[in-house]
Every structure is written in C-alpha cells, then in structure tokens.
C-alpha cells in the first residue's frame, strides 16, 4: 500500500475537469427535445375554436396502460363544442399511468389528440397528475373562439373534415396543422424554425403553468403558486 493511494482516485476527477461537459444545464438552460418527442398530450381545435375531439373513446380503448378516461356528450344547438353530434364531455389522462407510447394518437380518428414536446410531468400530488380537459385543450389562437359556439366554417361537420385544409387556408392559417405537431406557433400564424429561441416547442398550457419552450426556464412556476 503506497502513501499516494488516498489521492490516486482524484486523478480521474482532475483529468475530467479539463474535458467538455456532457451533462445539461437543466433546469436553467434545457435543451430542446427531438422534434417527435412524446410529451404531454394536447386536444386540438378546429380553426374556429371548436374542439376536434368527438368523445369516441378510441384513444381510451387503444391505451395499453388504461390511462385515458373519456365520456362523450351530446352537442345541442344551444351548446356546441365540436362539429357534429358528439363531443368529449369529460376527458382525462392520468400521467401516473401513461407510458408515452403514443398509441392513443394513432387511434384518434379526428386528429384531435396529438402529443406536444412538453416533458415536465412531475409533481408531488397524484391528483394533479390526472390532467383534465381544461389542461389538455390547445390554447385559443387568434381567430379562434371559446366553445360553445355554432359552427363557423360550414353548415355541417362534413365541411370541417372534407374541406378542412381548404377552410384552414382560406382563413389564412397554416398554424393549426403546425400546432398539432406540437410546434410553437407565433401569434401571426408563422412557425419558427426548430432551433429558434422559442425552441419550436409547443405552446399548449396557459402562461405560467410551466410550458417547455415558451416560459424562460428556471424553477417552473406552479399553477397553484406553491
């Protein structure tokens, strides 16, 4: 046993000090995720603000982790949330269960359900990790109107689906589709490149609720202020 033994191990430490770092400066300076990163889900909207979800429960059916709970509801003339007869009245995703597989997104027949790149899904409260519809719905962009309201893009639901892209363009927006991909959309409807300062990440949660990419990183503010 040599007298140098107690400090020998520090050799590695000293050597590493002069190599480039591999860790990330999270949470002060988070790196953008890969563009198709499976983050928090989002329920998208039609260009007039009506919800795309029809409450069909196919996502819940597809989910291998039984993380989704959906209850359908009946649109009426007085209270319309989506084009057509049916809308998702109650929608919940349990992030304690979700394994991020994305099968739900594949199952969704209306492209209502997509995933954003937001990955900060940790909490010390189980209840808050069950995301309800109000936290999953995409934010209203300019030109959108908070449902319930009548169909603005046509007389019947077919107009929304069959002539969807055309209607979107006629309203001068590419943003809706970009937003479905979880991309950040500027208020003018343009989509910034991925390596831009906003990181090309999704906007999807009201400001201050810890949105990746849009809020300056730091200690993520919490909705309840704790």
């Amino acid at each position: 046993m040599s007298f140098l033994d107690p400090v020998k191990g520090f050799g590695v430490t000293f050597a590493t000090m002069f190599k480039p770092v591999v860790t990330e400066d999270y949470p002060r300076n988070p790196e953008p995720t890969a563009p198709r990163w499976h983050g928090r889900h989002q329920l998208n909207r039609h260009p007039d603000g009506l919800e795309k979800c029809v409450g069909c429960e196919l996502c819940a059916w597809a989910c291998p982790a039984d993380a989704i709970f959906v209850e359908g509801g009946d649109n009426t003339e007085e209270a319309r949330y989506s084009p057509g007869e049916r809308y998702g009245k109650n929608y919940q995703i349990n992030y304690l269960r979700c394994i991020g597989c994305g099968l739900c997104v594949e199952a969704c027949p209306t492209r209502s359900l997509t995933m954003t790149n937001e990955y900060e899904l940790a909490d010390d409260d189980r209840q808050r990790l069950i995301y309800t519809k109000d936290r999953l719905l995409a934010p209203l962009l300019p030109g959108m109107e908070q449902p319930p309201h009548p169909m603005r893009l046509g007389d019947e639901e077919k107009d929304y689906y069959v002539r969807g892209p055309e209607l979107v363009r006629s309203r001068g927006a590419v943003r809706s589709e970009a937003q479905e991909q979880g991309a950040h959309v500027e208020p003018d409807g343009s989509v910034p490149p991925l390596d831009s300062p906003t990181g090309g990440l999704a906007e999807g949660v009201p400001p201050g609720a810890g949105t990746a990419g849009t809020v300056p990183r730091g200690v993520t503010p919490r909705a309840d202020g704790r």
Partner: protein
Amino acid sequence: MTQVATPPAAGGTGDGEDRPVPPGHVRLTIDGITVDAPKGELVIRAAERIGIAIPRFCDHPLLDPVGACRQCLVEVEMGGRPMPKPQASCTQTVGDGMVVRTQVTSPVAEKAQRSNLEFLLLNHPLDCPICDKGGECPLQNQTLANGSATSRMHEAKRVFTKPVPVSTEILLDRERCVLCQRCTRFSDQIAGDRFIDLLERGSSQQIGINSDEPFQSYFSGNTIQICPVGALTSTAYRFRSRPFDLVSTGTVCEHCASGCALRTDHRTGVVMRRLAAPDPEVNEEWNCDKGRFGFGYLHEGDRLARPLVRDADGQLQPASWTDAMTAAAQGLARARDDGGVGVLTGGRLTVTDAYAYAKFARVALRTNDVDFRARRHSAEEASFLADRVAGVTPSTGGPTYADLEAAPAVLLVALEPEDESPILFLRLRKAARRGVPVFTVGAVESRGSRKLSATLLPALPGAEADLLADLTADARPVVAGAAAADRNRAGQLLRASGAVVLVGERAAETPGLLTAVGRLADATGARLAWVPRRAGERGALEAGALPGLLPGGRPVTDPAARAHVEQAWGVELPARPGRDTAAMIASVLARAERDERALGLVGPAPSPDLPRPAESPAADDRPAGHGAVGLVERVVETVAGSVSGAVHHLRDLVTGEHEDAAVAPGPQAPAEPGLAGLLLGGVELDDLPDPAAALAAVAATGFVVSLEIRASAVTALADVVLPVAAVTQKSGAFLDWEGRHRPFDAALPTPGVLDDGRVLDTLGVEMDVDLYTQTPVAARADMARAVPPAPAGGTSPGTAPGPADARRGPAGTAPRDGQGFVLVSWRTALDGGRLLDGEPHLAGTARPDVVRLSPRAAELLGVGDGAPVQVHGPSGGTVTLPLQVTAMVDEAVWLPGRIRATPLVALLGAGSGDRVRVRPAAGGEGL
C-alpha cells in the same frame, strides 16, 4: 377442406352414414360434417348447432325468416346438382342429401359474403367513432373480420337528416340502417305495435314512422337491442359509454312480476343502461321499456344516505346507525307494549327481505299485523292466496310461460297483461299467434286484448263473478247471441286439459270474484295462476308477510304449522290472525280519534250520515307534480283539520259500498287500544286504497319507522328513517308470477348500504331477538327451516269462504238515467310511479291519458273521438280528458289508474266499480 370428425356432443349430428336417420329428420352435410336436422329447420340453425357461425344481420331466431340482408349466403348442392347461385341460409330449409358449403370451405360463399358486405357498406356512413353501437356492432365486427380495408366507393353516399327521434326514447339514424327489418318484424310479429315500417323504394328505402304516430310501444327498446347496426339508439344511453367501459351483471327486473332476466351495465358506479338478458324459460330475449329504461330513480338526488331520527324539536336529523337503531328499537318496543306495531312491507321486496319483515313482526313485535298489500285487497284474497297460490311453483306443477303456448285456451280475469305484466303479454301474444284462443273477462276491449286477438267476455266490474259462475255451471242458460256463444266456447275450451286461468291482483276489488275463479278452476280442471303487478308480492306471500299466513303460505290458525315455525324460530307465535293493511290504518285512526276526544279536541263522533267534511282538497287544482309532494301538502290540511275527517272517510270505506277491502272485524275488538306504531318498508301512500286516510294514519301514529331508499311522503312523517339498499346494491331473489325463483346478484355492491333483511336483523338484536337474516344466504337458510319441504299449495285447511253476500254488479247495457257510468280502471304500465322517476325519455312514451267510452255511450253524450269529456266522482272531484271511443260495455267508462302521477281515488274519490257521472266538457247533458 378435409372431412371433419363429427363432435359427438354436437346435438343432432350423426356418427356417419350408417346410423338410421331419426324420424322427422333429414340428413345433410355442412362443410363436410354430416348433420341430422329436423325437417323444416333452417340451414343457418343446423350449422350453428355444429359450431359453424354463418354471418348474418337480419336473421333472428325468434323472428320469422325474411332473407333481407343477404349476408348469410352459402353454396348449396341438392341431389348432386349445385344451385345456380349462393343461397341465403337463413331462409333455406334443410333437405335430405343436401350438401352445404359455407364460407369455411367454399370460396364462392366466402366471396359472396365479402361482396355483400361491401354492398351493405356502400351507403354506410363513417360514423363508428360517434356511433353508440361502436364496439358491439355486428356490422363493424364483420367488416373488421372479413371486410376489405379500403373502399372502392368514391361516389357521394346517400344522406339523410339524422338522428330522427321516432319516440322520446328512440333515435333513428337512417344512414346507418342496413334494412334488415329486424325492428319492423319485431314490432309487427312480437309486440304487435306496427308503428315502425319500411318506407319508399330503391336506394331511398328507409325505416320510418307515421309522422303523427310516434313509436309508442311498451316494447320499443328491444328494437335497439336487436338492430344489428347503430341505426336505432336510445336517448337515455346516448354517448354515455362504450362496451369496454361497462361492467355487466346479470340481474332481475324489479318492476313487475314477469321476472325478466336483465343485464345491468354500470360504469364508475353509475348504472348506464339495462338490456334484456336471454332466458328462454321466462322472457326469451325480450323485456319491456319499463325494465330497460326505468332505473333513473337509482341515481335521483333524494336517495337517503344516512339514518334520520326525529329530535326533540320534531325535526329529522341525520344520526349514526347506532343511535338510529337504538331509537327505533326503543320506540318500537314501547309502541309494541302500548297497543302494538303494524308492519306494511310494500310489494317490492325480495323474498328474503319480505321474510325478514314477516319474522320481525312475529318475533320482535309479537304480532301478526303484517301485510305486503299496498293496494286494494280483501280477506277473500288472503284466503285465495293461501289456498291456491302459495307454494305453487313450476316444479310443483304450476302453470308456466311455456304452458301458455301449449294451452287449449287461456282465460284472463281482472288482468290487463300489457299494462300489468308486459312479458306475460308477449308470451300470450306468441301463444295467440300460434292459435291459442285467449278470453278476457272485463268491460273494455283494450288495445292489448286486440293484439292478443282475445275474445272479450263482457262484464262490468262487480259482475265478473256472475259471468264466471256461468262458465262454471255445466248447464248454461240458453241465451242467444254472440256473447252467449263466446261464453259457451270459453266454457268448453276451459274444460280441455291444460287450459289456464290467469287472474290479476285487481280481482280482489270485486267481492266474490276470487272465490268464483277458484270454483271455475275446480269445475273445469283449468290450471290457475295469480298475476300480481309488483315484483315482490309473490315472494312476500311465500315469506309469510300476510296477517293470516306463516312462511310457506300456511295459515296462522293451523296449530301444526305454528308449532313447526315456533320450533324453527324458537319463540311462541301469536295464534290469532292479524290485521290487514286497511285494518291497520283503521286501527291507527280509531286510536287517534279516541285520543283526540279524550283530550277534548273534537266533539262526539259525527254520525256517518252527516255530510262528509271536505277532507279531499280540490284534487284537480293540485299541481301536476309528484304524488309524494302532493301528499305532503295534503297532510298539512288533513292533520290540521284533525284526523276525524279521515276517520269518516275510512268509515265510509269500511261500511259503505265504496271499498270492499274487508276490514277483518274479528281481531279488532272495540276494547283494544289500537296500534301505537307502524313499521313501513317501501310503501308509497298513494298506492294504498285510500291515500288520504293512509296519510292521516301515518301522521297520527305514535311511532313510525320507515325503511326507504328515497325520501318520500312516509319518510317525511317518520320518527326514524333507515336507508336501505336499492335493488342494484343488494343480492336476493324475486318470485315471478309462476312462483319461479329469480335470484340475482348485486350489480353495484356498495359498502355501508344495507338491505332490509340486514337492517331488521340488527334492529332485532337491539330488541333482544335473533332473526338470522343478516345476509340473503343466511335468510334463505333460515326460511328453509321455517318452511316445510313439501309444498303446501292447494291443500291448506282453514279456508274462509268468500263473502257470501257478494255484491252483484249492474248488468245493464246502457247507462240508466240518474245512475251514471261504472268506472273501470287499471294502472297503465307507465304512469309516473316512483320507480319511473328520473327518466323523462321513458315517461314520454307513456300512452296519453284518455277517457274511454263505448260508441253508443259517446253517441248518447253527443261527443266524438278526441273531444274533452268530464268525469265527476262522488267526492266532487272532476277529471277532464279527451275521449277515445273504444269497443266496450256501454255502461262503463274507463280511466287510467293514475292521471299525471296522482291516483284516481285521490282525484275522484272513486275506484274501479264505483258509479261516476260523465259529461261533455264543452257543455251539454251529462249521464
């Protein structure tokens, strides 16, 4: 495909060519398997029996074959020659030497089926995500299994407006319909309500209704269940869940004594829907809309969650179970020692719960004052039930559903099966369609009896017994005319072996009728069955919840029976029969009146011939709201005006001709103090013979304990309210009208919610007696100890003969001047009862309230169909409803048993059999 060895277990399949073909059978091969099939069997059924499923949409085993959808095409070879085209196996009957190749072995059949599927999908919308059938849709399943993944259809699809409500309960989406005609065939062949039919031709062919005739059938919900696509859906279940969300439990319907097997589907603790479950012995594959949709009451806001105890200020306060049990036990014990406690169980209990009440009354309250009959009843009825009904089950030879189909004739007495036992009605209709003659004794040729092609043997209420006596007499008076011919034919057919007489609970309203029914059955040898309206009555009878009967239907007065029960229960039983429902209420009121007089609150008892105080508030002014609410409003007036008014009324009931619910005078000696307490199971005061008197009685009783699932007129007046489990939350069994045991499990077992048996068991412990009814299983075992193994049906001694002075009903044929009309009435199936609360869509399919008069009577009054007509009752109350001219006895007027959820007796002061006056509302001479 190679020859498949015949599975030996598969019924009807032969071992090979060497075995002889059984007589009446033919031998064919299906996919290489040799099958012996009865002549006339359909190929699709024969294939099913050997485990080959041929796809189908329109085929239904209980409907006539139609061959509408063409999905079941198979290749058929007859006598070595192939038929030129694939054949529909649901219309093709088997033939000797036939060779059938299904999609399993024949590429031709497989291609035919695949192409047909593509054809059916030509105009089918891409609705699966928003379609309520999605996940359990035969079309979806077959498309997923055998259809092509892409569509070749690029043209525009046919569109219709959707959805169209065909009734408040049913929505029709014509785009999804595959025109299989299951719905129309069901409505036509099974229910007989041909409201829904095929309209138009070619590609605009569609299902539809007459625009001014909604799909108003008591059985319409079945069409939703058998529609093979989502074209017919239910308003109540619209968009509520998917099949994979649901937890299904086999249950039994609590709405009537038909005993339908149901499937209760719930999601997150809430019942989402109920479906008919198949039970070939009972409901086949059907049920009625009441059983299917009538479960909203389970989730009503007025469900009781905690026990309530009345505090010193007279307010009901939530209490712990311990406190409530102590209060109830102490109060009941005090009342028991101070004059006794009467027990009314209501007619909706399971067998074991009814048994718990029957035992609690005898063991803890030491009385025979227990009665399950919350309706008009009589002592004659009690002895009829003891002699001829108790203990009769299908296993002891009682008539069954299947027997109706084979009967040479069926006679209905005081029974309107479509309203009072809908699945019995469907089975009768099936029998009638097979040629079984149905006779019905009554005054009205109802829509139900027309659908049964029933022969009406006309008799006014009160005169039915005479008519039955005519049928009983061997040498009938020679009277000419069609009516006499019908009677003769009925009399003859009833003497053929296997004939069935079905008597309804309303027979108790006519003195002498049940005795006459018994005599008729004895004289003709016809088999007899009693059909109550409520699900729990038959079970309560077996459980001994009657003042004169012990469990097993043995009379209390029989020392041997008593000794047997005493040994089983380990207590001494009161030997004297108790009071029935009416007598209990009379006893309470008499006591209250005496107490009042003792306190000098009222003068001497007014003599009965004084004009009756106006204790029936102007009933027609009352809001059309709920009966219970109306009742509570009435209690204020009734109680404020002292109970004497109600006592008068009751005296009228007992002495006058109004009510024959015989108050057994025997057990109630004048010196007795009268009941000091009441224990009420789910009793609805509006159902009792005199709601006002019942309300006054409950208000005046010293101590009232109520076991209820929802707040009611009774719980508002009770001293202790104990919440009990609804039928979905408990297990148990009902007995249907046949006496068949219909066990069920809890669909929504809820911790902390106790059934009546458990509550009474605990209450018993508080009163130092053991009931052994903590669970339905324990209660059944205890009941088995108290009931002798041999059935007691038909042999019990001690039968009291029916009242000899049976009131002879009027036999006239036209309203005689000054006498008015005879009121005929029964409760329709959907009449706003409390078990129908919480389901407005179902209530919307109720038949509109009408007055019925015969064409002759309408002519005399100078009114036509639809004209408003006023009916005046003896209490001064008036009912105004549109007229529906109906084939019926000229002297009778028909009204529904409840009008906007208020019982007729509360509106008119009259019930079936009473005289009322009828006047055109537009003015004019009345009769």
